[in-house]
Protein backbone atom coordinates (compact mmCIF):
# COMPACT_ATOMS: atom_id res chain seq x y z
CA UNK A 1 0.00 0.00 0.00
CA UNK A 2 1.42 3.40 -0.90
CA UNK A 3 3.01 5.11 2.06
CA UNK A 4 1.47 8.41 0.99
CA UNK A 5 -2.03 6.98 1.32
CA UNK A 6 -1.18 5.48 4.71
CA UNK A 7 0.17 8.83 5.89
CA UNK A 8 -2.87 10.66 4.59
CA UNK A 9 -5.32 8.31 6.28
CA UNK A 10 -3.36 8.19 9.53
CA UNK A 11 -3.10 11.96 9.86
CA UNK A 12 -6.77 12.42 9.07
CA UNK A 13 -7.65 9.77 11.62
CA UNK A 14 -5.70 11.74 14.22
CA UNK A 15 -7.65 14.87 13.33
CA UNK A 16 -10.89 12.89 13.44
CA UNK A 17 -10.82 12.75 17.25
CA UNK A 18 -9.30 16.11 18.01
CA UNK A 19 -10.16 16.27 21.70
CA UNK A 20 -8.95 12.80 22.61
CA UNK A 21 -5.80 13.00 20.54
CA UNK A 22 -5.25 16.60 21.66
CA UNK A 23 -5.25 15.48 25.28
CA UNK A 24 -2.89 12.64 24.47
CA UNK A 25 -0.66 15.05 22.59
CA UNK A 26 -0.68 17.43 25.56
CA UNK A 27 0.37 14.56 27.84
CA UNK A 28 3.25 13.69 25.49
CA UNK A 29 4.32 17.34 25.32
CA UNK A 30 4.29 17.76 29.10
CA UNK A 31 6.12 14.46 29.68
CA UNK A 32 8.80 15.17 27.09
CA UNK A 33 9.25 18.76 28.31
CA UNK A 34 9.56 17.47 31.89
CA UNK A 35 12.11 14.87 30.82
CA UNK A 36 14.15 17.46 28.91
CA UNK A 37 14.09 19.86 31.86
CA UNK A 38 14.78 17.21 34.46
CA UNK A 39 17.58 15.66 32.44
CA UNK A 40 19.14 19.08 31.97
CA UNK A 41 18.99 19.54 35.75
CA UNK A 42 20.59 16.14 36.28
CA UNK A 43 23.31 17.02 33.76
CA UNK A 44 23.77 20.35 35.55
CA UNK A 45 24.18 18.48 38.85
CA UNK A 46 26.55 16.05 37.20
CA UNK A 47 28.71 18.76 35.70
CA UNK A 48 28.62 20.68 38.95
CA UNK A 49 29.75 17.64 40.91
CA UNK A 50 32.57 17.01 38.46
CA UNK A 51 33.65 20.66 38.40
CA UNK A 52 33.48 20.88 42.18
CA UNK A 53 35.57 17.74 42.51
CA UNK A 54 38.15 19.01 40.03
CA UNK A 55 38.28 22.54 41.48
CA UNK A 56 38.50 21.23 45.03
CA UNK A 57 42.33 21.24 44.81
CA UNK A 58 42.18 17.96 42.90
CA UNK A 59 42.42 18.92 39.24
CA UNK A 60 41.86 16.36 36.53
CA UNK A 61 45.08 14.53 37.33
CA UNK A 62 47.21 14.64 40.44
CA UNK A 63 50.70 13.33 41.11
CA UNK A 64 51.35 12.12 44.67
CA UNK A 65 54.06 10.28 46.50
CA UNK A 66 53.23 6.62 47.13
CA UNK A 67 51.28 6.18 50.36
CA UNK A 68 50.30 9.85 50.63
CA UNK A 69 46.61 9.11 50.36
CA UNK A 70 46.74 6.68 53.29
CA UNK A 71 49.10 8.74 55.40
CA UNK A 72 49.21 12.32 54.18
CA UNK A 73 52.15 14.29 55.53
CA UNK A 74 55.34 15.99 54.57
CA UNK A 75 57.19 12.68 54.77
CA UNK A 76 55.41 11.58 51.57
CA UNK A 77 56.97 14.14 49.27
CA UNK A 78 58.78 14.52 46.00
CA UNK A 79 61.08 17.14 44.52
CA UNK A 80 60.13 19.11 41.47
CA UNK A 81 61.87 21.96 39.67
CA UNK A 82 60.10 25.27 40.05
CA UNK A 83 59.94 25.69 36.26
CA UNK A 84 58.43 22.25 35.64
CA UNK A 85 56.23 21.96 32.56
CA UNK A 86 54.04 19.13 31.24
CA UNK A 87 56.03 16.76 29.00
CA UNK A 88 56.13 17.23 25.25
CA UNK A 89 53.39 15.32 23.52
CA UNK A 90 51.00 15.55 26.46
CA UNK A 91 47.58 17.07 25.76
CA UNK A 92 47.33 20.83 26.17
CA UNK A 93 46.51 21.67 29.77
CA UNK A 94 44.65 24.58 31.33
CA UNK A 95 47.19 24.86 34.14
CA UNK A 96 48.98 23.14 36.96
CA UNK A 97 49.84 23.83 40.58
CA UNK A 98 52.64 22.48 42.78
CA UNK A 99 51.61 22.42 46.41
CA UNK A 100 52.61 21.33 49.85
CA UNK A 101 49.65 19.98 51.77
CA UNK A 102 49.98 18.76 55.32
CA UNK A 103 47.65 18.03 58.21
CA UNK A 104 47.95 20.62 60.93
CA UNK A 105 46.35 22.12 64.00
CA UNK A 106 45.31 25.76 64.06
CA UNK A 107 44.78 27.68 67.27
CA UNK A 108 43.30 31.00 68.22
CA UNK A 109 42.76 32.40 71.66
CA UNK A 110 39.25 30.93 71.53
CA UNK A 111 39.62 27.56 69.84
CA UNK A 112 41.59 24.84 68.16
CA UNK A 113 40.79 22.95 64.97
CA UNK A 114 42.34 20.27 62.81
CA UNK A 115 42.94 21.50 59.27
CA UNK A 116 44.67 20.86 55.99
CA UNK A 117 47.45 23.41 55.68
CA UNK A 118 48.21 24.06 52.05
CA UNK A 119 51.16 25.91 50.63
CA UNK A 120 50.32 27.37 47.24
CA UNK A 121 51.75 29.57 44.54
CA UNK A 122 48.85 32.02 43.95
CA UNK A 123 49.93 32.46 40.34
CA UNK A 124 49.20 28.78 39.70
CA UNK A 125 45.88 28.55 41.53
CA UNK A 126 43.75 29.63 38.57
CA UNK A 127 42.92 25.93 38.30
CA UNK A 128 41.28 25.65 41.74
CA UNK A 129 38.38 27.23 43.60
CA UNK A 130 40.85 29.57 45.32
CA UNK A 131 40.91 31.90 42.32
CA UNK A 132 37.14 32.28 42.13
CA UNK A 133 36.20 32.25 45.82
CA UNK A 134 34.84 35.49 47.21
CA UNK A 135 37.49 37.05 49.42
CA UNK A 136 37.33 39.53 52.29
CA UNK A 137 40.70 41.16 52.86
CA UNK A 138 43.65 40.29 50.67
CA UNK A 139 44.69 37.27 48.68
CA UNK A 140 48.17 35.84 48.99
CA UNK A 141 50.62 37.90 46.95
CA UNK A 142 53.09 35.22 45.89
CA UNK A 143 54.64 31.86 46.76
CA UNK A 144 56.74 33.38 49.54
CA UNK A 145 53.84 35.19 51.23
CA UNK A 146 53.98 34.19 54.89
CA UNK A 147 50.43 35.21 55.77
CA UNK A 148 47.45 32.89 55.68
CA UNK A 149 43.95 32.96 54.25
CA UNK A 150 41.27 30.97 56.00
CA UNK A 151 37.64 30.19 55.34
CA UNK A 152 34.92 32.36 56.85
CA UNK A 153 33.44 29.32 58.55
CA UNK A 154 36.75 28.56 60.27
CA UNK A 155 37.11 32.19 61.30
CA UNK A 156 33.70 31.97 62.97
CA UNK A 157 34.65 28.72 64.67
CA UNK A 158 37.90 30.19 65.97
CA UNK A 159 36.20 33.52 66.72
CA UNK A 160 38.93 35.37 64.91
CA UNK A 161 39.15 37.83 62.04
CA UNK A 162 41.27 39.73 59.53
CA UNK A 163 44.71 40.82 60.71
CA UNK A 164 44.66 38.50 63.71
CA UNK A 165 47.50 36.02 64.30
CA UNK A 166 46.89 32.30 64.57
CA UNK A 167 49.26 29.55 65.59
CA UNK A 168 49.66 26.51 63.38
CA UNK A 169 51.35 23.29 64.41
CA UNK A 170 52.44 20.61 61.95
CA UNK A 171 55.10 17.99 61.58
CA UNK A 172 58.35 18.96 59.89
CA UNK A 173 60.32 16.91 57.38
CA UNK A 174 62.55 15.77 60.24
CA UNK A 175 59.55 14.31 62.07
CA UNK A 176 59.57 16.96 64.77
CA UNK A 177 56.64 19.26 65.40
CA UNK A 178 56.94 22.78 64.06
CA UNK A 179 54.92 25.70 65.34
CA UNK A 180 54.62 29.13 63.81
CA UNK A 181 52.38 32.16 63.99
CA UNK A 182 50.61 33.42 60.87
CA UNK A 183 48.66 36.64 60.35
CA UNK A 184 45.28 36.36 58.57
CA UNK A 185 45.45 38.19 55.23
CA UNK A 186 42.00 37.23 53.95
CA UNK A 187 38.84 35.27 54.58
CA UNK A 188 37.53 33.24 51.67
CA UNK A 189 33.93 32.34 51.04
CA UNK A 190 33.67 29.02 49.21
CA UNK A 191 30.37 27.42 48.20
CA UNK A 192 30.76 24.76 50.83
CA UNK A 193 31.19 25.43 54.51
CA UNK A 194 33.03 22.14 54.79
CA UNK A 195 35.83 23.50 52.64
CA UNK A 196 35.86 26.82 54.50
CA UNK A 197 36.39 25.01 57.77
CA UNK A 198 39.06 22.68 56.43
CA UNK A 199 41.55 24.40 54.13
CA UNK A 200 44.01 27.06 55.27
CA UNK A 201 46.37 28.52 52.67
CA UNK A 202 49.76 30.17 52.78
CA UNK A 203 52.60 30.69 50.32
CA UNK A 204 54.22 27.42 49.33
CA UNK A 205 57.69 28.86 50.06
CA UNK A 206 56.61 29.84 53.56
CA UNK A 207 55.27 26.35 54.27
CA UNK A 208 58.39 24.69 52.81
CA UNK A 209 60.43 26.84 55.16
CA UNK A 210 58.24 25.85 58.10
CA UNK A 211 58.53 22.10 57.41
CA UNK A 212 62.19 22.44 56.54
CA UNK A 213 62.25 20.92 53.08
CA UNK A 214 62.05 22.34 49.55
CA UNK A 215 59.71 19.61 48.35
CA UNK A 216 56.13 19.22 47.25
CA UNK A 217 53.43 16.76 48.23
CA UNK A 218 51.24 17.14 45.16
CA UNK A 219 51.19 18.29 41.55
CA UNK A 220 47.69 19.05 40.37
CA UNK A 221 46.95 19.48 36.66
CA UNK A 222 43.76 20.70 35.03
CA UNK A 223 42.75 20.12 31.42
CA UNK A 224 40.69 22.19 29.05
CA UNK A 225 38.60 19.11 28.21
CA UNK A 226 38.10 15.93 30.17
CA UNK A 227 38.42 13.52 27.23
CA UNK A 228 42.17 14.27 27.12
CA UNK A 229 42.49 12.97 30.69
CA UNK A 230 43.74 9.49 29.90
CA UNK A 231 46.30 10.67 27.37
CA UNK A 232 47.68 13.12 29.96
CA UNK A 233 47.71 10.46 32.61
CA UNK A 234 49.67 8.10 30.37
CA UNK A 235 52.20 10.84 29.57
CA UNK A 236 52.67 11.67 33.25
CA UNK A 237 53.08 8.03 34.28
CA UNK A 238 56.11 7.85 31.98
CA UNK A 239 57.64 10.98 33.50
CA UNK A 240 56.88 10.40 37.18
CA UNK A 241 58.21 6.90 37.68
CA UNK A 242 57.86 5.81 41.27
CA UNK A 243 55.06 8.29 41.97
CA UNK A 244 51.29 7.82 41.84
CA UNK A 245 49.46 9.48 38.94
CA UNK A 246 45.73 9.52 39.71
CA UNK A 247 42.72 11.06 38.02
CA UNK A 248 39.91 12.84 39.80
CA UNK A 249 37.62 9.81 39.67
CA UNK A 250 40.17 7.83 41.67
CA UNK A 251 40.77 10.67 44.08
CA UNK A 252 37.09 11.53 44.56
CA UNK A 253 35.33 8.17 44.25
CA UNK A 254 32.08 9.44 45.76
CA UNK A 255 31.82 12.22 43.19
CA UNK A 256 32.79 9.76 40.46
CA UNK A 257 30.06 7.35 41.58
CA UNK A 258 27.52 10.17 41.55
CA UNK A 259 28.77 11.11 38.10
CA UNK A 260 28.08 7.60 36.82
CA UNK A 261 24.75 7.49 38.65
CA UNK A 262 23.71 10.68 36.89
CA UNK A 263 24.19 8.96 33.52
CA UNK A 264 21.84 6.21 34.66
CA UNK A 265 19.45 8.70 36.27
CA UNK A 266 18.89 10.36 32.91
CA UNK A 267 17.60 7.07 31.49
CA UNK A 268 15.72 6.09 34.66
CA UNK A 269 13.86 9.38 34.68
CA UNK A 270 13.05 9.01 30.99
CA UNK A 271 11.62 5.52 31.37
CA UNK A 272 9.62 6.41 34.48
CA UNK A 273 7.94 9.35 32.75
CA UNK A 274 7.58 7.92 29.29
CA UNK A 275 6.76 4.44 30.56
CA UNK A 276 3.73 5.83 32.38
CA UNK A 277 2.81 7.76 29.26
CA UNK A 278 2.94 4.68 27.05
CA UNK A 279 0.02 3.13 28.91
CA UNK A 280 -2.06 6.18 28.10
CA UNK A 281 -0.97 6.05 24.49
CA UNK A 282 -1.80 2.35 24.20
CA UNK A 283 -5.22 3.02 25.73
CA UNK A 284 -5.92 5.87 23.32
CA UNK A 285 -4.85 3.82 20.32
CA UNK A 286 -6.83 0.75 21.39
CA UNK A 287 -9.92 2.92 21.82
CA UNK A 288 -9.33 4.51 18.44
CA UNK A 289 -8.82 1.14 16.74
CA UNK A 290 -11.83 -0.52 18.34
CA UNK A 291 -14.05 2.44 17.47
CA UNK A 292 -13.35 1.91 13.80
CA UNK A 293 -13.01 -1.83 13.74
CA UNK A 294 -15.78 -2.01 11.10
CA UNK A 295 -13.89 0.41 8.92
CA UNK A 296 -10.68 -1.60 9.32
CA UNK A 297 -12.65 -4.76 8.55
CA UNK A 298 -13.95 -3.16 5.37
CA UNK A 299 -10.43 -2.11 4.37
CA UNK A 300 -9.28 -5.69 4.75
CA UNK A 301 -12.40 -7.01 3.02
CA UNK A 302 -11.64 -4.98 -0.09
CA UNK A 303 -8.06 -6.17 -0.17
CA UNK A 304 -5.90 -4.22 2.25
CA UNK A 305 -3.22 -6.47 3.70
CA UNK A 306 -2.92 -6.86 7.50
CA UNK A 307 0.55 -5.33 7.38
CA UNK A 308 -0.94 -2.14 5.93
CA UNK A 309 -3.42 -2.00 8.81
CA UNK A 310 -0.51 -2.40 11.23
CA UNK A 311 1.40 0.30 9.37
CA UNK A 312 -1.58 2.65 9.61
CA UNK A 313 -1.83 2.26 13.40
CA UNK A 314 1.96 2.56 13.79
CA UNK A 315 2.00 5.74 11.70
CA UNK A 316 -0.82 7.25 13.77
CA UNK A 317 1.06 6.54 16.98
CA UNK A 318 4.36 7.72 15.55
CA UNK A 319 2.82 10.91 14.21
CA UNK A 320 1.33 11.70 17.63
CA UNK A 321 4.68 11.06 19.26
CA UNK A 322 6.61 13.01 16.62
CA UNK A 323 4.50 16.12 17.10
CA UNK A 324 4.47 15.70 20.89
CA UNK A 325 8.22 15.15 21.04
CA UNK A 326 9.00 18.16 18.84
CA UNK A 327 6.76 20.50 20.84
CA UNK A 328 7.83 18.94 24.15
CA UNK A 329 11.52 19.37 23.39
CA UNK A 330 10.96 22.97 22.36
CA UNK A 331 9.00 23.62 25.56
CA UNK A 332 11.57 21.82 27.70
CA UNK A 333 14.46 23.77 26.18
CA UNK A 334 12.53 27.03 26.63
CA UNK A 335 12.16 26.17 30.33
CA UNK A 336 15.86 25.33 30.52
CA UNK A 337 16.84 28.67 29.00
CA UNK A 338 14.36 30.47 31.24
CA UNK A 339 16.28 28.98 34.17
CA UNK A 340 19.60 30.06 32.69
CA UNK A 341 20.58 31.98 35.85
CA UNK A 342 20.32 28.77 37.81
CA UNK A 343 18.26 27.44 40.67
CA UNK A 344 19.23 28.70 44.11
CA UNK A 345 19.51 25.72 46.45
CA UNK A 346 21.12 27.63 49.31
CA UNK A 347 18.18 26.80 51.59
CA UNK A 348 19.34 23.19 51.43
CA UNK A 349 23.05 23.98 51.33
CA UNK A 350 24.16 21.30 53.78
CA UNK A 351 22.43 18.51 51.90
CA UNK A 352 23.57 19.87 48.55
CA UNK A 353 27.22 20.08 49.73
CA UNK A 354 27.10 16.51 50.95
CA UNK A 355 26.63 15.54 47.31
CA UNK A 356 29.67 17.58 46.34
CA UNK A 357 27.52 20.18 44.61
CA UNK A 358 27.30 23.94 44.74
CA UNK A 359 24.23 25.77 45.92
CA UNK A 360 23.47 27.31 42.52
CA UNK A 361 22.26 24.65 40.11
CA UNK A 362 22.33 25.49 36.43
CA UNK A 363 20.55 23.14 33.98
CA UNK A 364 22.83 21.88 31.23
CA UNK A 365 20.98 20.59 28.12
CA UNK A 366 23.06 18.16 26.10
CA UNK A 367 22.40 17.59 22.40
CA UNK A 368 23.01 13.86 22.85
CA UNK A 369 20.41 13.67 25.61
CA UNK A 370 17.81 15.54 23.56
CA UNK A 371 18.44 13.28 20.58
CA UNK A 372 18.22 10.23 22.84
CA UNK A 373 14.90 11.45 24.26
CA UNK A 374 13.57 12.04 20.75
CA UNK A 375 14.66 8.65 19.43
CA UNK A 376 13.55 6.68 22.48
CA UNK A 377 10.20 8.48 22.53
CA UNK A 378 9.58 7.68 18.89
CA UNK A 379 10.67 4.10 19.55
CA UNK A 380 8.22 3.89 22.44
CA UNK A 381 5.53 5.30 20.15
CA UNK A 382 6.10 2.44 17.73
CA UNK A 383 6.18 -0.14 20.53
CA UNK A 384 2.99 1.30 22.03
CA UNK A 385 1.20 0.94 18.71
CA UNK A 386 1.99 -2.75 18.26
CA UNK A 387 -0.61 -4.05 20.69
CA UNK A 388 -3.47 -1.90 19.26
CA UNK A 389 -2.34 -2.90 15.76
CA UNK A 390 -2.40 -6.54 16.76
CA UNK A 391 -5.90 -6.05 18.16
CA UNK A 392 -6.91 -4.50 14.83
CA UNK A 393 -5.75 -7.42 12.70
CA UNK A 394 -6.73 -10.12 15.16
CA UNK A 395 -10.39 -9.53 14.28
CA UNK A 396 -11.24 -11.17 10.97
CA UNK A 397 -12.70 -8.88 8.28
CA UNK A 398 -16.08 -10.61 8.33
CA UNK A 399 -16.30 -10.45 12.10
CA UNK A 400 -15.29 -6.78 12.02
CA UNK A 401 -17.93 -5.97 9.42
CA UNK A 402 -20.63 -7.52 11.59
CA UNK A 403 -19.82 -5.31 14.61
Amino acid sequence: MPIKLLLQMSLRNILRHRRRNGMMLAAVVVAVAAVVLMNSMIRGMQQDMADAAVENLVGHVKVLAPGYRDDPGIARNFALAGDWRPPDGAPEVAGWAMRVRVPAVIMSERGTRGIQFVGVNPAQEGISFLSSARMVGESLKDASDGRIIIGQALAEQLETGLGRRLVIITQGADGLNREAGFRIAGLYDADGEGMEGFFVFTGVGALQEMVGAEVFTELSIRLHEEPALFALKDALVEVFTGLEVLDWRELEPQAAAMFVFADAAVLIWFFVMMGALVFGLVNTLVTSVMERIRELGMLRAVGMRPRSVVAQVVIESSALMLIGVAVGIALGLAAVFAMGDGLDLSLWSEGVESFGMRTLLRPVPLVDDVLLIALLSLGLGVVASLYPAWRAIKVKPLEALRR
Partner: protein
Protein backbone atom coordinates in the same frame (compact mmCIF):
# COMPACT_ATOMS: atom_id res chain seq x y z
CA UNK B 1 -3.20 -19.07 -7.54
CA UNK B 2 -0.91 -18.42 -10.49
CA UNK B 3 -1.79 -21.62 -12.40
CA UNK B 4 -5.43 -20.79 -12.54
CA UNK B 5 -5.34 -17.06 -12.17
CA UNK B 6 -5.95 -16.21 -15.77
CA UNK B 7 -8.18 -19.07 -16.72
CA UNK B 8 -11.46 -17.69 -18.05
CA UNK B 9 -14.45 -19.89 -17.41
CA UNK B 10 -18.09 -19.58 -18.33
CA UNK B 11 -18.99 -19.53 -14.66
CA UNK B 12 -17.66 -16.64 -12.72
CA UNK B 13 -18.71 -18.48 -9.56
CA UNK B 14 -18.77 -22.23 -9.14
CA UNK B 15 -19.78 -23.75 -5.81
CA UNK B 16 -19.87 -27.51 -5.38
CA UNK B 17 -21.09 -29.27 -2.22
CA UNK B 18 -20.43 -26.25 -0.02
CA UNK B 19 -21.20 -26.54 3.69
CA UNK B 20 -20.52 -24.14 6.50
CA UNK B 21 -21.21 -24.60 10.19
CA UNK B 22 -20.82 -21.88 12.82
CA UNK B 23 -20.49 -22.29 16.54
CA UNK B 24 -22.94 -20.07 18.39
CA UNK B 25 -22.50 -20.28 22.16
CA UNK B 26 -20.81 -23.65 21.64
CA UNK B 27 -23.85 -24.88 19.70
CA UNK B 28 -23.14 -25.80 16.08
CA UNK B 29 -25.40 -24.04 13.59
CA UNK B 30 -25.27 -25.28 10.02
CA UNK B 31 -25.59 -22.18 7.85
CA UNK B 32 -25.10 -23.96 4.51
CA UNK B 33 -25.65 -27.62 3.63
CA UNK B 34 -24.11 -29.14 0.55
CA UNK B 35 -24.88 -26.20 -1.73
CA UNK B 36 -24.19 -26.39 -5.48
CA UNK B 37 -24.37 -23.03 -7.22
CA UNK B 38 -23.08 -21.69 -10.51
CA UNK B 39 -23.17 -18.07 -11.54
CA UNK B 40 -22.36 -17.07 -15.09
CA UNK B 41 -20.65 -14.00 -16.47
CA UNK B 42 -22.97 -11.07 -17.03
CA UNK B 43 -25.69 -12.38 -14.75
CA UNK B 44 -27.61 -10.28 -12.25
CA UNK B 45 -28.91 -12.58 -9.52
CA UNK B 46 -30.42 -12.17 -6.10
CA UNK B 47 -29.94 -14.51 -3.15
CA UNK B 48 -32.99 -14.29 -0.96
CA UNK B 49 -34.63 -16.11 1.89
CA UNK B 50 -35.56 -15.58 5.50
CA UNK B 51 -33.04 -14.53 8.12
CA UNK B 52 -30.67 -17.40 8.88
CA UNK B 53 -31.32 -19.05 5.52
CA UNK B 54 -27.63 -18.81 4.57
CA UNK B 55 -27.71 -16.15 1.84
CA UNK B 56 -25.15 -13.85 3.48
CA UNK B 57 -23.00 -16.85 4.37
CA UNK B 58 -22.94 -17.93 0.74
CA UNK B 59 -22.14 -14.39 -0.38
CA UNK B 60 -19.27 -14.15 2.15
CA UNK B 61 -17.86 -17.50 1.09
CA UNK B 62 -17.94 -16.48 -2.57
CA UNK B 63 -16.30 -13.17 -1.63
CA UNK B 64 -13.45 -14.96 0.16
CA UNK B 65 -14.34 -13.34 3.48
CA UNK B 66 -15.04 -16.73 5.02
CA UNK B 67 -13.97 -20.30 4.31
CA UNK B 68 -16.18 -23.30 3.64
CA UNK B 69 -15.94 -26.33 5.92
CA UNK B 70 -16.64 -28.67 3.03
CA UNK B 71 -16.94 -28.37 -0.72
CA UNK B 72 -15.17 -26.20 -3.27
CA UNK B 73 -15.69 -22.65 -4.44
CA UNK B 74 -14.06 -21.16 -7.50
CA UNK B 75 -14.26 -17.49 -8.49
CA UNK B 76 -13.20 -16.62 -11.99
CA UNK B 77 -11.59 -20.04 -12.19
CA UNK B 78 -9.61 -19.64 -8.96
CA UNK B 79 -10.19 -22.30 -6.28
CA UNK B 80 -10.58 -20.30 -3.07
CA UNK B 81 -9.87 -23.11 -0.63
CA UNK B 82 -6.30 -23.34 -1.96
CA UNK B 83 -5.51 -19.70 -1.33
CA UNK B 84 -3.64 -18.24 1.63
CA UNK B 85 -5.09 -15.23 3.47
CA UNK B 86 -2.88 -12.83 1.55
CA UNK B 87 -3.81 -14.46 -1.77
CA UNK B 88 -7.46 -14.12 -0.82
CA UNK B 89 -6.84 -10.43 -0.07
CA UNK B 90 -5.30 -10.06 -3.50
CA UNK B 91 -8.24 -11.83 -5.17
CA UNK B 92 -10.72 -9.57 -3.38
CA UNK B 93 -8.70 -6.54 -4.39
CA UNK B 94 -8.38 -7.37 -8.07
CA UNK B 95 -11.44 -9.41 -9.04
CA UNK B 96 -14.30 -8.68 -6.67
CA UNK B 97 -16.17 -5.49 -5.90
CA UNK B 98 -18.05 -5.22 -2.62
CA UNK B 99 -21.08 -3.13 -1.77
CA UNK B 100 -22.06 -3.31 1.89
CA UNK B 101 -25.35 -2.71 3.64
CA UNK B 102 -24.02 0.27 5.56
CA UNK B 103 -21.84 1.61 2.71
CA UNK B 104 -18.64 1.37 4.79
CA UNK B 105 -16.94 4.30 3.16
CA UNK B 106 -13.76 5.63 4.77
CA UNK B 107 -14.98 8.68 6.68
CA UNK B 108 -11.69 10.58 6.52
CA UNK B 109 -11.51 10.43 2.73
CA UNK B 110 -13.60 12.36 0.21
CA UNK B 111 -15.90 10.57 -2.24
CA UNK B 112 -13.27 10.71 -4.97
CA UNK B 113 -10.53 9.56 -2.58
CA UNK B 114 -12.73 6.65 -1.50
CA UNK B 115 -13.07 5.62 -5.12
CA UNK B 116 -9.36 6.13 -5.78
CA UNK B 117 -8.47 4.15 -2.68
CA UNK B 118 -8.93 0.72 -4.30
CA UNK B 119 -6.84 1.80 -7.28
CA UNK B 120 -4.15 3.01 -4.90
CA UNK B 121 -4.10 -0.42 -3.31
CA UNK B 122 -3.71 -1.85 -6.80
CA UNK B 123 -0.84 0.51 -7.54
CA UNK B 124 -2.53 2.47 -10.34
CA UNK B 125 -0.64 5.67 -11.25
CA UNK B 126 -1.94 8.90 -9.75
CA UNK B 127 -3.07 10.61 -12.96
CA UNK B 128 -4.86 7.56 -14.28
CA UNK B 129 -6.42 6.99 -10.88
CA UNK B 130 -7.93 10.45 -10.62
CA UNK B 131 -9.18 10.33 -14.20
CA UNK B 132 -10.92 6.97 -13.72
CA UNK B 133 -12.41 7.98 -10.38
CA UNK B 134 -13.89 11.19 -11.77
CA UNK B 135 -15.19 9.35 -14.81
CA UNK B 136 -16.76 6.64 -12.66
CA UNK B 137 -18.43 9.14 -10.32
CA UNK B 138 -19.74 11.02 -13.35
CA UNK B 139 -21.17 7.84 -14.86
CA UNK B 140 -23.11 7.31 -11.63
CA UNK B 141 -24.32 10.91 -11.67
CA UNK B 142 -22.46 12.11 -8.59
CA UNK B 143 -19.47 13.94 -10.08
CA UNK B 144 -20.39 17.10 -8.18
CA UNK B 145 -20.03 15.24 -4.87
CA UNK B 146 -16.45 14.21 -5.54
CA UNK B 147 -14.90 16.42 -2.86
CA UNK B 148 -17.43 15.73 -0.14
CA UNK B 149 -16.72 13.35 2.68
CA UNK B 150 -19.17 10.52 3.53
CA UNK B 151 -20.57 12.44 6.50
CA UNK B 152 -21.73 15.15 4.10
CA UNK B 153 -23.63 12.74 1.84
CA UNK B 154 -27.11 11.18 2.05
CA UNK B 155 -27.52 7.41 2.33
CA UNK B 156 -28.30 7.05 -1.38
CA UNK B 157 -25.33 9.20 -2.33
CA UNK B 158 -23.04 7.18 -0.08
CA UNK B 159 -24.25 3.94 -1.63
CA UNK B 160 -23.54 5.34 -5.09
CA UNK B 161 -20.02 6.22 -3.99
CA UNK B 162 -19.69 2.68 -2.59
CA UNK B 163 -20.80 1.28 -5.97
CA UNK B 164 -18.33 3.53 -7.74
CA UNK B 165 -15.59 2.23 -5.45
CA UNK B 166 -16.65 -1.34 -6.19
CA UNK B 167 -16.75 -1.06 -9.98
CA UNK B 168 -14.01 1.41 -10.76
CA UNK B 169 -11.43 -1.35 -11.24
CA UNK B 170 -13.72 -3.43 -13.48
CA UNK B 171 -14.09 -6.44 -11.19
CA UNK B 172 -15.32 -9.74 -12.63
CA UNK B 173 -17.91 -9.93 -9.87
CA UNK B 174 -19.86 -7.38 -7.85
CA UNK B 175 -21.16 -8.68 -4.53
CA UNK B 176 -23.81 -6.61 -2.75
CA UNK B 177 -25.00 -7.55 0.74
CA UNK B 178 -28.40 -6.00 1.47
CA UNK B 179 -27.54 -2.90 -0.60
CA UNK B 180 -30.99 -1.35 -0.06
CA UNK B 181 -31.35 -2.06 3.65
CA UNK B 182 -30.70 1.54 4.71
CA UNK B 183 -32.38 3.26 1.78
CA UNK B 184 -35.93 4.49 1.19
CA UNK B 185 -37.90 2.98 -1.68
CA UNK B 186 -37.28 5.87 -4.08
CA UNK B 187 -33.55 5.76 -3.54
CA UNK B 188 -33.59 1.96 -3.71
CA UNK B 189 -35.23 2.10 -7.12
CA UNK B 190 -32.63 4.58 -8.37
CA UNK B 191 -29.89 2.31 -7.05
CA UNK B 192 -31.39 -0.76 -8.73
CA UNK B 193 -31.74 1.05 -12.05
CA UNK B 194 -28.09 1.94 -11.73
CA UNK B 195 -27.08 -1.66 -11.02
CA UNK B 196 -29.17 -2.88 -13.94
CA UNK B 197 -27.52 -0.30 -16.22
CA UNK B 198 -24.08 -1.41 -15.08
CA UNK B 199 -25.07 -5.02 -15.72
CA UNK B 200 -26.44 -4.20 -19.19
CA UNK B 201 -23.90 -1.69 -20.39
CA UNK B 202 -20.71 -2.94 -18.78
CA UNK B 203 -21.57 -6.61 -18.42
CA UNK B 204 -20.70 -6.62 -14.74
CA UNK B 205 -21.79 -9.83 -12.97
CA UNK B 206 -23.86 -8.83 -9.96
CA UNK B 207 -24.80 -11.11 -7.08
CA UNK B 208 -26.79 -9.61 -4.26
CA UNK B 209 -28.09 -10.98 -0.97
CA UNK B 210 -31.37 -9.32 -0.08
CA UNK B 211 -34.66 -9.40 1.75
CA UNK B 212 -36.06 -6.67 -0.45
CA UNK B 213 -38.66 -7.76 -3.07
CA UNK B 214 -37.81 -4.73 -5.19
CA UNK B 215 -34.18 -5.86 -5.45
CA UNK B 216 -35.35 -9.36 -6.36
CA UNK B 217 -37.61 -7.93 -9.04
CA UNK B 218 -34.69 -6.16 -10.74
CA UNK B 219 -32.46 -9.25 -10.73
CA UNK B 220 -32.71 -11.50 -13.78
CA UNK B 221 -32.25 -14.60 -11.67
CA UNK B 222 -33.69 -15.35 -8.28
CA UNK B 223 -32.09 -17.88 -5.95
CA UNK B 224 -34.00 -18.67 -2.76
CA UNK B 225 -32.38 -20.32 0.23
CA UNK B 226 -33.98 -21.87 3.25
CA UNK B 227 -32.27 -23.60 6.16
CA UNK B 228 -28.93 -23.50 4.40
CA UNK B 229 -30.06 -25.03 1.13
CA UNK B 230 -31.15 -23.65 -2.24
CA UNK B 231 -34.86 -24.31 -2.59
CA UNK B 232 -35.57 -22.27 -5.71
CA UNK B 233 -33.43 -21.04 -8.59
CA UNK B 234 -35.38 -19.30 -11.32
CA UNK B 235 -34.80 -16.82 -14.12
CA UNK B 236 -37.30 -14.10 -14.98
Amino acid sequence: MSDVANRRTAHVVDCAGVSRTYQEDAVPVQALRDVDFQFSRGEFASLSGPSGSGKSTLLNLIGGLDRADEGAIAVDGVALNRLSESELSDLRLRRIGFVFQSYNLIPVLSAQENVEFIMQLQGVARGERAEQAVECLASLGIAELARRRPGELSGGQQQRVAIARAIVTDPVLLLADEPSANLDSGTTEELLKLLRRLNHERGISILTATHDPMVMSYAKRRVVLRDGAIVEDSAH
